[in-house]
Structures are given as C-alpha cells and as structure tokens.
Symmetry: C2
Subunit: 755 residues, 2 copies
C-alpha cells in the first residue's frame, strides 16, 4: 500500500516538473553498501551516473602487504573497500565497480590532524559502520582517530570533499600518489604535483597496470589557503639533478617521482570546515581545471549533493518498479544504481579525450566512454541500456568505434580501459552490443558499412586469442590455446552477431560467411559423451577430459556442463544436437541439482557455494542465460521457477547481497531484466526470453515516450509461474517478447499462479 | 686572393637570388668535427639551423659501463660522440652541442645485416674516420661490420637516413629505446612503440634525467615495407597483464616498457637502399606525423640535403668574413655553425608545443625554442643573435616569457630544457638577454610592463639559490650557500639588467631599487686582501680562503682571481674599488702570467692546461670578458694582445679545436665577436668593447638592410694592435662601439700595427 501512495506522490512531483529532495524516493532505496562484503567488488563511495569520478574510501593499502599475503589481498580490494575492515586509509577518486580484476584507485586523499605522518599505517583512521552513510552521490563517515566528519559528493568529473574538523584542530590533507589498487609491484610509472597557488594544486599520475599506459590528470582546489606543504619520495633510485639546490620537501611547489606522498597544512581558522574540489581529466591538468570550472564553480556542498541526487533520481526512475517488499525494492534500485556506475565518461567538458593511440581527440557529437568489460556486459547490461537509454548506448558504441579507429590492431575493444586495451577475457563482444543496437534501429548517424568493416576486421585479427586457428580449423584447437571451447563458442555467437549487422547493411556475402562461422560450435560437440569438448589441431578430441572441471578443460570460468550450453544464436539446434528437448531438459535438471565435489570449487576465488545452485554458477557470466533455456524445452515453467529461485537466493539488499563480482553491472542488469519478467538471452536477436517477474508492477519510461506498464496479477512468493501473458489486453503466445513490441505496447500483464 | 674571387661569386649568386649547390662556399668551410675530440662536447651529425633534430652517431653506450667507469665516461659523451672511438652504436636524433652536462640521445637507430642481435656490444660496428664526412646538414659513414653506407640529412623537425646495403644482404633496422646520454641509472620512465602499418612506426619516450619530466614523440617512416619485426624488454620487473595472451616479441604492433629495443627486417629487393624519415614532436605522435608530412613529403635524399645546406648557407653567410688563412676561415665558419645548433625549435609545424606546465600550448606569432643554457649564452651568444638575427632572438625571448607564464615558480628560465627547467648553474640571466634586446629596440610586440614583471618576479623568488638571503643581506652568505660570491656577483649584474629594462619601461621606482641591488658586489670586496671574498651571515669574512682555489671558496667554475672580476655593469667602479687602473692592470697581468699549481687544476674535469693562460681559464665562461677589461686601464693594447692570443691558441679548425665545452655556442660566439674586433662585455649596455680583429675583412648583413663592412688594414699575425679606428671615414675615439652605431654605419676600418 505504501507504494501506491509513493507513486502518486511521485507523479505529482513529475507534473510540477521538479524533482525536489523530498521526491528522491528511488535514490533513498539504494544501498551502495550492497556487494561490499565478500566478493561483490562494489564500492560505497560517492559517484555520479556514468561519471568520471568514483570518490570512495580505501580500507586496504596493498603495498603494505608482501608476497603471498599481498596476492591474497589484491583480489579482495578490487574496489578498494571491504565491509569487514575497520580502518580507512583515505578517499580515492577512481574505482571499478564489481570487476574481477583490479586497477585505478587514483589520488588518495586523507585528512588528518596534528603532526603529519606520511606512513599509511600511521595516517589511517579507524571508523565504525554506524557513522557511515552511503547514498547515490553521497558518502559520509566519521574518522575516529581524528574527530573528522568526512562527507563526499561529486559531479560528473569533479569530486567534492567536505571535512569538518573539531574546532581548533590543525588540519592536514595528505595526497598519497603511492596508493594503488593493483597487484603489480611497480605500477607507478611517474607522478607529478604542482602547487599552482595557495588554493590550487594540479598534477598527474601515470601507471603501468592492467592498463599499460594510463595517465590521469587532476586539479585540486581547497576552500582555504594552504598554510604550508611538503612531500616525500618513496623510491629506490632518486635522481635529483640540480633540484638538489632546493629543499624540495618543504613548501616547494613542484614535486615529481615514481612514488610520492604530499601533504598540505591548513589553519582551520574561524570555520572548522575544509572543502576540496578534485577534478579529473585524461587529457591534461588544463582539462581538469576546465572540468572543475564548468561543473563546480562554487563551494556549495549541499547544492552539489542535491544536483547529484536529482540526477540519480532521474536516471534510476526510468523504471518505476513496485515490489512485494521493501527489501526487494532496495535490491532492485541498488541494482539499477550498480548498472550506472560504469562505463564511465571519458571525455572532458570540451569533448577532448585521450585516445587509444595516446593522442588527444575530440569526441564529435558524442560523449566518449571507457570501461567496457564486454565479456560481462554484452549479455544484459548493454541490452538494458539499449532498452532504457539507447542514445547513451549509441554513444558507448561510438566510443568503441573511436577505439577501433585508434587501434593499431584494428580491433574493437575487448576491454576498454582508460585509453588502453587490457585484453581481459575472451570473444569480441563489442559486435554483440553493436548488433543489438543496429537491429533495434538505435545506432544512428554512423556509416553502417564502416561499422560492419570494424566488426569484420576485429573478427579476422589472426593473432588475437586463436582467431587465426579458429578461422582455419573452424574451432580454436585445444593444443596451444587455453579455454579453446569457450573461445570457439563465443566467437561463433559473435560471428552470428556480425551476420545480423551484415543483413541490416545489405551485405549478403558477409552475412553468408558469418552465418557459416556462427555454426562453428558444432565442431566441438562430442556426441559420444554429450558435451562440448576441446579438440586438438589434428581433429582428435582431447583425451583427458572432465566435464565438471573448470580448470584447463577448454573452458574459462565455467565447465562443460554449464559453459557448454553457450549457443545463444541457435538454441533449438543446440538442443537437437544434444539429443532433443527431453534429454536437454534433463541435462538442465541435473545441472541445477547435482552435487559438486569440493575439488571443483577450489579454483574459483570469486565463487563460493553461496553463488551456486547445483552446478549452476550465477556468480560468473557464462551461466546467465541457462535458466532461460528451459523455455526451449517442454518445461518453460522450470525457467520461471529457477529464475525466481536465483533472484531470491543470489541477490539481497545486504552488504553481502551479491553472490559474486557485480562485473561492472552485469549481475545487476540480470536482476533488473529478470525482475521485469524477461531477459535478453541472445543480444542481437531482437527478442527477450520470458521468465518470471519479481515486480508487482513497473513502468518503464521508454525514451520514445512510451510508458510501458508491467502488471503482475497474483504476485506472491509462491506464485512464480506465468499462467498467462497479455500484451495490451491480448494474450501473448510463445516464450519470447520482441524488442519492437515493447516500444509500442502500453501494458504487459503477467498472470501468475503457484502451478 | 681566393677570397676575393669567392666573394664576387657569392655576390653574383645573391643577385641571381639563388643559392645553388655551387655557391655553398661557407658551408664547405664548416668542419662539424671541431670539438669532437676531448671536451668540446660537439657532435658531427646532421643538423638544421636551430632544428629540432640533431641526427648524430653514438660512439659510446653508457649503460655498458658500470659504476666508477660509468661516471668517468658519462662526461665524455655529453654529445654522444668522441673522436677517439672506433665503434658506432647507432644514430640518435637529439643532442646537446657543447654542453657541460648531458641528456638527450633519443631514438637510436642502428642498421645491421644478417641475424638480428639486440645487444649493443654485438650490434655496434667499427668505422674509420676516413669513411666519415660531415658538413652542415650532412653526415656520412661506412659501417665496416655490415658493409653499409650510412648517410644522413635533416629538415628542421625530420631526420632522413639513407642506408645503402651490399646487394643481396638482408637488412635490419634496430630502434633502441634503451640508449641514453646520461648519468642516471633509471633514466627511462616509459617507452612506447606502435607499428601503425608496414611502413610507419610511431612512439614516444619519457625520461627522468637532467630534465625531470621529458617526453619526446616520434614518427618513423620506411621507404620499403617492413617484412617482420619484434622487440625485447630489458627491465627488472615486467608486468604483462593479459598481454601474455600474445607473443608480443614477434610481429606484434604494440610495444611498451621501461627499456625496450625493437628491430625491423627488410628485403632489400631490387634496390639496396633503405631510407628512413624520422620526425620528432614534443606534443604527440600525431604532431610528429604532421611534421613529417609538412617538411619531408617525398623520398628524395638529395633534395632534402640541398635544402638543408642552402638553409645553412643562408644562415651562416649573414657574416661574410675573409681571414688570413683557410684554417681561420674554417675555424670562423665552424664557430658560426656551432652558434646555430641550439637553442632548438620546440614547436610543431602547427605551432603547438608542450609547455613547462606539461600542457599543450600554441605559440602564437612566434616559434617556440628550448635549450637555453643561459649562464653560458647570455654573454655573447644571445648578443650575437641580437645583432645578426634579432627577430629570432626575440622569438627566443618570447619562448622564455612563455616559460615564465607556465612556471609554477613564476621564474624566467635558468636552463630551459624541453618543457623542463633543469636549474643548472647560477644567476637569472634571461634578464640579461631581455635587457640586451630591449635596449636595442629589438623586442617588439610584447607588453614591456609584463616583461618587467617577469624579470622582477624572477629576481624575487626567495627560495631560488640564495635570492632571499641576497635580498636580505645584500649578498649571498657563505654559510649555507655554495658559490656565494659568484651568485652575488651575477645577481648584481642581473639586477642592473632589470634596471635597464625598467628605465625603458619608464618605471623609475624599479630602476632605483634595482640599481641599488646592482651594487651588491661591493658587499663582497675585501679591500684588506684585494679580492672578492665569501662573507658569512654574521657579516664576517669566511676565514679559510684561498683566492686560487676554485673549489668551495664561494666561486663556481672559477676562483677569486678571475671570477672576482665579474662586475660588467660597473667596471670603472670595480677598478677604483680594487685600487685604481694601475693596480688593476697589474692584477690582470698577474692573472695572465701566473703559474697555477696542479692542485688547482685537478677539480676541473673539463679544463686542461690547453685552455689556460696563466690563471685565465678560457674554457669556462666567467673569464670571457676578462681580456677586454684592460680597455678600462691605461693599457687597452693588452686587451688586443690577449684577445688575439686567445683566438690563436684556444681555437682551431681541428677535431680538438675547442679548449673546453663549446657551451651551447658561447665559446664559438666569443670567437666570432672577437674575430670581428669587438665583444659584448656587458650585455644590456648597448656597447661592445673593442678588441683586435682577426678577420681581414667582413661584411655583416644586418637585418635592417645595412651591409656593415669591416676592413682591417695591415692585418697580420704580428699586427695585433689597433692603431686607429675609423667609422664611415671618421676616426673613432674610446674603447667601445655602440650597437646603434653598427645599425647605420657603412664601414668600420681597423688600422693595425705591431706596436
């Protein structure tokens, strides 16, 4: 009942054309702490939708750990924060959300009082969760050791810090350029700090990490004049040249080195508050200053916070959902939030950005984005964008095409990472994102022939990850290539995507070629054992083979039981190949119910038994379509049952509410689609598979102006089965809904039952 | 007599408005090998007047030496080449000319044949001087080990290599990014190479050397397609990330790391020639490609060479000199050549350059230059430019003002070094260069008030090298500051320069203040011993003091005997202070004749007995004005005598023709002025001191159109004394000539005698 009142209230505010603080009801439902415990790899800090800045606390400081301990820790701190920790080392400005590999953590700021100590083990502060508050665009914590109230908000490109010191305390700000999120002992390549005047500091950091050549610039402005400052270098070899003329360590306005920590002292004076604007740019310090001037000209923390939260409210209210419980509401809107933390804006206010070729380019007519963790996000995250924000998704595709144009490999991004390609994971899934947008008619203003050329060239780059062999053999041979089955299956799906683009472009020749390549999965099905199986160059199956093992068996982050089911482009044929609907249904039944021996789990650092149903692993992407495969058997009800079970058991509104890495929003996007009752099993097909909605009702405010209403009759925890489905009052047959249908339909009604 | 014919021939060509190959008689007189033996620190390679590229052979490879041996070698290889060597390691694209400290050596290219070996000790080749040829804009050598004829020329920003292989040999080009000229074990910060296509390679190198944050970009184009290529990394810690997916070492188009060496293989095919265009940019690889397209669109080596040599001919023929011997002609025109190797052009063809703030700026209405070794070059090199190329000198000053605007220290350059300040040596002599141009009326189109503000701010930067103390005490105290007397003397002269600018700007207040500061030298004269002497903070003279010692006695690169005479702004008062003309003359006599004990020489790694006359050290700049000081005594003839002696004994056309570092052209500029019969003892005064000309005749083609003729009657080796001096037929009294006089005079006649 409270939801009804709420929605009415919101409608009223919408009519008034003003989203005031009171109306931010969806924002209030978001809990940024979800996933911060265990391996969700999310962060609780202040962020802006698709913003350049993610201003979040660091509760681990990796360089403090050595060797084995270090390697164990590094995975925990992919997002810099672990809920179980009790110390904060500072607040850094860039973070991945939910990734399974780490980088970033740029520009750690730590406020302290008293004598400056630059040792992280000394300058860190204890904190309590009771003093923490996190909301979209906002993070707050009390630093026990220093009696400092620390609050944060952010614009798209500028973080805003507000530190309230105890009256009379001397205030220090540490700018730690050594802090890094990463497992590499020499990540910093170079760092540079300039004290431009008594309130403005600029600089940059260049790192050799997961991104090999990454440089990020900053401009930092203080609300009070710096009283004194200094820095120390922490490196093996220091060459000073004629800089030895100076006492560089104190009040000297230019600092540089591989590893430096700077500090700035302030008189708290009449006011005990110190604010810091911290702007980023990938172009230059000049770019960072421009970003700051354009986005955050004044010092009003509350205004900035209200702007950020209003923006979040507008973004996440694109889906107005009503669910059975407040917990589910929080889970849903936290998922919405988590789908909008990345990809991140990667061009300055003037459109300039650092390209993959390390030259400065101007994004002409689009916003440039980076962080495309495509092996994860092509599955549901980009399809979600394609549905609810197709223009932004098109800008992301334009960013991928710019990446292609700047790529010396002539390849679309595999994993786009701040002017770098980090080559993580497999497949060339940019083509999936593109195909999904192209067949939806959502990729406008680009030359389809050039787009197709980019896809074709990418898929023919022989030295990438077995593509040459894949083309020559029709599969990636197991000898000489790891994960050979996974790669073959994904390439085959990717090639089907390219065929779909070719069809739209009217290029029948390419369509034919790529539809043939899309059948490559057939070459790896071993009918004698009923599994996809690694095959050697000589055409013989790899002999030692355990379909349960995820390790060294031709698969990556999966095994033959689950990853072997990855033929989204032709599920009916896969099922036929595997012995028909009945047999396939049994395969799925067994998959969801079998007991896995412990030995098969140990390899997964990011999967616990919590993220597993039988041999189904929700914490990793290769399984994300599996529950929907029952739709192609005689038992679509089992899809409905399993999907609800996954939503119920794998997601929650708690700090441990994610069963594995959020994977840049893919896990959350799965939840959003599934909650609405459908899921994009084959992006590029133009269809969603129908599951079992978790919402009671929802309105999707489609960008074409259509307010698509989803109503669920008889929604209840036990009523997981879809008895009937009506679209605009007419009964809908089949297990799929077309994307085009959603664009024009007014109402979808799910009629639920417990049978 | 041959000179007479020559000059006529040149005049004819000038009339024809065409400097053809035949007319390049001055270029033919230049011997770029002068100074390559011992400590001249010049290089023989191909260069363009004030060009960005200095394409020259490397005969040492410093990283091959370790520890003590390394430190000994590093000084020898400031310009990468030592005449006594017999191996060439390759050809690098950036070199200082004549400096006493080292850096650069970017992008070493070595051609080889047969199997590629990336070890410098293996890929180097022996060579003989007999196969070498060096002329302005041209260098050639035969690489014995590979039977390769290597030839080089250059445009302003693009080096052109031409390698002629023995027919049928396989050809390799090594691009060695590890090679460095410098004494720092970790100079490379990062390097990056991209194989853009089968003829184009781009990349950059970032170094932490004498310039702390230096990045230089390149674009390299081959005249033939690359057949295959690869690289190796030479570093302690290699993090590969997901790049381990690839065999990065072979035919993989993206290479990066701290220390890498790449190679490219070619089929020599029908032609046995391989040409390489190698363009530089401080902005980006895009900038380097633009520079290449603009300056060297085709592959015609001879045309490029002719252009370079025509340009050199035009530049050095600004002074048409005739001398007594061919050796002197060669010495003179080699000196002219050496004055035009730096400062170097430091903006791209589109005017963009990397500023001191590391941001990209556009030089609006001027060419941006770098390499301002001002402690050396303010003395005679910039005064020479101010006379013969005032517009270029004004551009250099505009570059200094841009440096100031970008400086976080709000200081004009001390030693401008590729977007860096390296802080080498003492004083703030940019103000001298500016004063000299301002009082000559040669600094147009800039706001004199802003110029003055830049000078004033520079001179008040308290944390720089004792300036705070200098202002407070009236001298740099000896306790807590090395070279305290040298600094005081130079600051005092610099302050007098600022006063001259203030006078032109009509700022009497500043004039008065700075004329007072200009008297600071008085505070360090100890009349009880008759020397400038270091003084402590408490106003007491430093007790232990040896006026002969150059080490730790308040002076740098000089001692109290010679450096103590540095009061160019008020020589008459200095002489009065030192006891009057007679006593001062005796001081000078003794200075030029005294025997120095060996113990006083050992500290000078760059001064040998060859560069010394008595206690006069010509190899270092603090003495450069001293021979002219006799003009202020009753014995100006001794100036004439000593100046001729210095020219005769300290300069020659041989490989050891410089008695010390050429110091970015200052030593050569001293020779040019002195050869013409006058020298700028006090830049900013508008006057030159008259010495004793070495030329028989000379025409200075002044940029205002005036062809100033200098004629020397009775010129002979023994006729070193100027009996009478006529300007435009009228006898000239006094020991000075005004700059303004030269602008309008037609003829200066020196009448020489042996008495």
């Amino acid at each position: 009942m409270y939801r009804f009142i709420f929605i009415s209230a919101l409608s009223l505010f919408t009519i008034l054309s003003s989203v005031s603080a009171q109306s931010r009801s969806y924002v209030d439902l978001v809990n940024p702490f979800v996933g911060t415990k265990n391996m969700g790899h999310t962060f609780p800090g202040a962020a802006y939708p698709f913003g350049m800045v993610q201003l979040s606390p660091a509760t681990g400081y990796l360089s403090m750990y050595k060797d084995k301990e270090y390697n164990k820790k590094v995975y925990r701190y992919c997002a810099g924060y672990q809920y179980d920790d009790s110390f904060i080392y500072g607040f850094a400005h860039t973070h991945f959300s939910g990734t399974g590999h780490s980088d970033l953590g740029d520009f750690l700021i730590m406020p302290t009082t008293g004598k400056v100590n630059l040792n992280p083990e000394s300058f860190r502060s204890s904190f309590k969760h009771s003093s923490e508050k996190a909301k979209p665009g906002y993070y707050k914590v009390f630093l026990d050791d220093y009696n400092i109230d620390a609050e944060f908000t952010t614009t798209k490109r500028v973080g805003l810090h507000k530190y309230s010191f105890k009256r009379g305390d001397s205030a220090n700000i540490i700018l730690d350029m050594v802090y890094n999120i990463y497992n590499h002992e020499k990540k910093n390549v170079w760092t540079y700090i300039r004290v431009e005047n008594d309130t403005l500091v600029t600089g940059y950091r260049q790192t050799n990490g997961w991104a090999r050549n990454r440089t990020l610039y900053f401009a930092m402005s203080f609300s009070k004049p710096i009283k004194s400052y200094g820095h120390k270098k922490y490196e093996d070899v220091v060459y000073r040249g004629f800089w030895r003329k100076f006492n560089e360590e104190k009040n000297f306005p230019e600092m540089a080195g591989e590893n430096i920590r700077a500090y700035f002292n302030f008189d708290t004076g009449n006011s005990n508050e110190l604010l810091i604007k911290f702007a980023l740019s990938a172009v230059s310090t000049e770019g960072a200053i421009k970003n700051m001037s354009a986005e955050l000209p004044d010092w009003n923390f509350n205004n900035a916070l209200a702007s950020a939260q209003d923006k979040w409210e507008r973004e996440i209210s694109v889906i107005e959902a009503d669910m059975m419980t407040k917990e589910e509401m929080e889970t849903f809107y936290t998922a919405m939030y988590h789908t909008m933390l990345s990809p991140v804006t990667y061009s300055d206010v003037d459109g300039r950005y650092r390209g993959l070729d390390q030259n400065i380019h101007t994004a002409d007519g689009f916003t440039n984005y980076t962080i495309f963790s495509l092996w994860d996000t092509y599955r549901a995250l980009h399809p979600l964008y394609n549905l609810i924000m197709p223009n932004r998704n098109a800008d992301m595709i334009k960013s991928m095409l710019a990446h292609y144009n700047q790529s010396v490999h002539k390849m679309l991004p595999i994993w786009s990472h701040y002017s770098n390609e980090n080559w993580c994971m497999i497949g060339y899934h940019a083509v999936s994102v593109i195909a999904d947008a192209v067949i939806s008619g959502n990729l406008k203003g680009v030359d389809i022939d050039k787009v197709l050329e980019a896809c074709v060239n990418t898929s023919n780059q022989r030295y990438f990850d077995g593509i040459g062999d894949y083309i020559d053999f029709g599969y990636v041979p197991a000898d000489g290539n790891s994960s050979s089955v996974s790669k073959t299956l994904e390439y085959a799906y990717n090639d089907w995507c390219i065929a779909q683009i070719a069809k739209v472009a009217g290029r029948d020749d390419i369509y034919t070629t790529y539809m043939k390549r899309a059948d490559s999965y057939k070459n790896l099905y071993d009918s004698s054992i009923g599994f996809m199986r690694p095959k050697n160059r000589d055409g013989k199956w790899r002999e030692s083979f355990d379909p349960m093992d995820t390790h060294g068996q031709g698969f990556i982050e999966g095994n033959a039981w689950n990853y072997g089911l990855y033929v989204p482009q032709n599920i009916p044929n896969m099922i036929a190949m595997m012995g028909g609907k009945r047999r396939f249904e049994k395969h799925l039944d067994k998959l969801f119910t079998m007991q896995i021996e412990d030995k098969y789990i140990k390899h997964h650092e990011d999967i616990t038994r919590d993220g597993i149903i039988g041999n189904y692993v929700h914490g990793n992407e290769p399984g994300h379509h599996i529950a929907y495969l029952y739709n192609y058997t005689n038992a679509p009800k089992k899809t409905q049952n399993r999907v609800r079970m996954i939503m119920d058991t794998m997601y929650s509104n708690g700090v441990d509410g994610l069963c594995g890495n959020d994977d840049a929003g893919q896990m959350s996007a799965w939840y959003i689609f599934s909650s609405l009752g459908f899921y994009p099993v084959a992006p590029g097909s133009g269809y969603y598979e129908i599951g079992s909605p978790l919402v009671k009702a929802a309105t999707i405010n489609l960008p074409n102006g259509n307010r698509l209403s989803i109503r669920v009759k008889n929604q209840a925890n036990d009523n997981v089965y879809v008895k009937r489905l009506f679209i605009d009052g007419k009964i809908h047959k089949g297990h799929r809904i077309a994307y085009n249908k959603l664009l024009s339909a007014s109402e979808i009604v799910f009629e639920m039952s417990d049978k």
